[in-house]
Symmetry: C2
Subunit: 385 residues, 2 copies
């Protein structure tokens, strides 16, 4: 691979959303050029930021070839492209892809993912491959109703998941998810947790860095905020960081990874989800840590040494700013957020807002979590997008 | 003007170099789009960062019209475009330009600039309009030889300046600079200074913010480093900041401005130069202060409230990384810089390096200036570009 700090070095992003956008900003800071491939034609966040833009289908290697050939390295902002497609794109274009297609192969299928992490000694949410109608009932009887049914491939933020409450609904959901027509379906227990935690790990041939364990705050099943560090015992934070490093190693990850854990009432950590990319839970690192998840994403996939992940101040809070109206996007009532010392407003440049769409975020750093969280909420609760 | 946090808001840069590049990175963070106009055809830093790029002549309003019409607001990264051209571009396109053409008119001519600041009560480097051969000699006799002759318009980093040592060389230089063919020439005394200081001010309809007084470190007349805050008495720093605010007000500046001062052996501050744009002396603010000069540049010209300019840590050092070789640009021996906690490497994406060209910079922040400066030098002295 070409020297990554040669200024005609081109990093390519499969996917043109806010995660690729924030990574691109860092790539530019290193003097790199950016290529982007989107499965949407126009107006995606990164498409406003580079002259080197392609559109097509993530299922069609041919449609990605010109993009891939323009890059010195390719990375991803999502996990929806089949690892076989990635492997073929890498082989045909000769451009390395990180995280590697081999890493993707270990996490694109939820069953293999859970087995991989379990084999590495990481406790995961209880699950079972559903091979018969009997399994549907015995899982509920063993781990309790309701529980989740999931297609082992695909699915994101609740899509491709069904909550089942009894034998009847389990049967219906199994059918709806395609279980009867041969799709691999797994059951997953609901975990009675006190906290949802997340840890980012960046890793490449130089080693790894692990970010502070943070906490995602949900309201009505929507992640509204992230607190870093998480308000749990230090021993829990350290344990989650240790498990996250083990997980990154288990998939031989090169890039930035996020691992989400449930902390149970009994104080156990269960790995819930993994993401082979920058993650919403790590947005606070832009101002909250010395080296952001986006900078370490770029460093990791380009083979550069990884950067320090110490926190700048003791507490950081990131508030997701979701669309409030269906309309051309505009951030209204931003004055309090912009006036807040140590507050930082990030907009993703999406032209159209709609209720619940991730449009922007606001990070506030400070000395004491309770105060920082209170101020961050006050700055953002008035914002309309 | 359209709401600046509407995501189809487009900020335009006249000039496509590293200053516009770093401001663009901030504009993207606010969700804005970026248009750029360069007087060079290709491979300028910002041209790699947007699909909306035009080239032409800064002297030709017509060539800038399509660019200007694509923008909601226009700003500049240099001071070489005639204020009359700017006024005509603004009038014809209907797109506001900040800093305004009226502000530019007060600083594009060194004579008017000095008079403007003097009238505002700001001490400036001793100068005189040369109206006769006698003036050439009397200036030297009064303020000492050698002194500087400058064309009142144009000139940058020493171009358009001549150092004169005696009556004969003064006569030759006056002719060389075009004084005999009607160009306005001013004499400027060399000042015996102990420190060169710089202060950034951002200002718009919401008010102003003034950055800490920093110090530029010269070696062989080249600015190799910036220390913030400057290692001078606090009273001097506060005085320079006060003068900088007065200067920004004197030109009714809307935007970001840098003011450079000499601190004389006697402890007096003399305003030496002003820049109506982000400035090399302010690069340290990206990591060194809560809100960078580039963010406040964007905020100021877009009419947003200005951001806090407190320092993140007590000491910040910025090292300019100049080209070391004539070759395709590549940053070699970067490992120490990238590994330094609290160190931040910025490359401008210029494809071609040559000795002395501004290619990149490195900022290190920390607790104590002496230590930070030493480490910043150690990280960067091995770098070849």
């Amino acid at each position: 691979m070409k020297h990554p700090l040669k200024t005609d070095f081109r990093i390519g992003f499969l996917g043109a959303g806010q995660l690729a956008r924030m990574s691109s900003l860092q790539a530019f800071r290193f003097g790199m050029q950016v290529s982007v491939f989107s499965d949407r034609k126009e107006n995606e966040p990164v498409q406003f930021m580079t002259p080197y833009s392609w559109s097509g289908s993530f299922d069609d290697v041919e449609s990605m070839m010109e993009f891939a050939s323009s890059c010195d390295v390719i990375t991803l902002e999502n996990e929806f492209i089949d690892s076989k497609i990635l492997a073929e794109l890498q082989r045909r274009s000769g451009t390395p892809i990180y995280p590697s297609p081999e890493s993707f192969a270990l996490i694109e299928n939820k069953l293999i993912e859970k087995q991989t992490f379990e084999n590495a000694g990481i406790p995961v949410t209880p699950y079972k491959l559903i091979e018969s109608q009997d399994d549907l009932n015995s899982f509920g009887d063993k781990y309790g109703w309701p529980y989740l049914l999931k297609s082992s491939k695909g699915g994101y933020d609740g899509y491709g998941n069904e909550t089942v409450t009894d034998a009847e609904s389990a049967k219906d959901a199994f059918k709806k998810l395609g279980g009867e027509s041969g799709r691999e379906i797994i059951a997953e227990a609901f975990v009675d947790f006190t906290h949802e935690l997340a840890v980012q790990v960046a890793r490449n041939e130089h080693g790894y860095v692990v970010y502070p364990c943070c906490e995602t705050v949900q309201e009505n099943h929507i992640n509204v905020a992230v607190k870093a560090p998480a308000e749990v015992d230090e021993s829990i934070r350290l344990k989650s960081q240790e498990l996250a490093v083990t997980a990154a190693e288990a998939i031989d990850g090169k890039g930035i990874f996020a691992f989400e854990f449930f902390l149970t009432k009994e104080g156990d950590l269960l790995l819930n989800e993994s993401a082979p990319r920058p993650h919403n839970s790590g947005h606070y690192t832009i101002e909250g840590t010395v080296t952001s998840q986006f900078e370490n994403h770029v460093r990791a996939v380009c083979g550069l040494p990884l950067g320090d992940v110490s926190m700048i101040k003791p507490a950081a809070v990131m508030m997701n700013l979701l669309g409030t109206n269906k309309r051309p996007a505009v951030i209204e009532n931003h004055e309090k957020a912009l006036a807040e010392p140590n507050g930082h407003l990030h907009s993703y440049g999406k032209l159209e807002s709609k209720p619940g769409r991730k449009m922007a975020h606001f990070t506030l750093i400070g000395e004491e979590m309770k105060d920082v969280y209170k101020r961050a909420r006050e700055c953002t609760k008035v914002i309309k997008i």
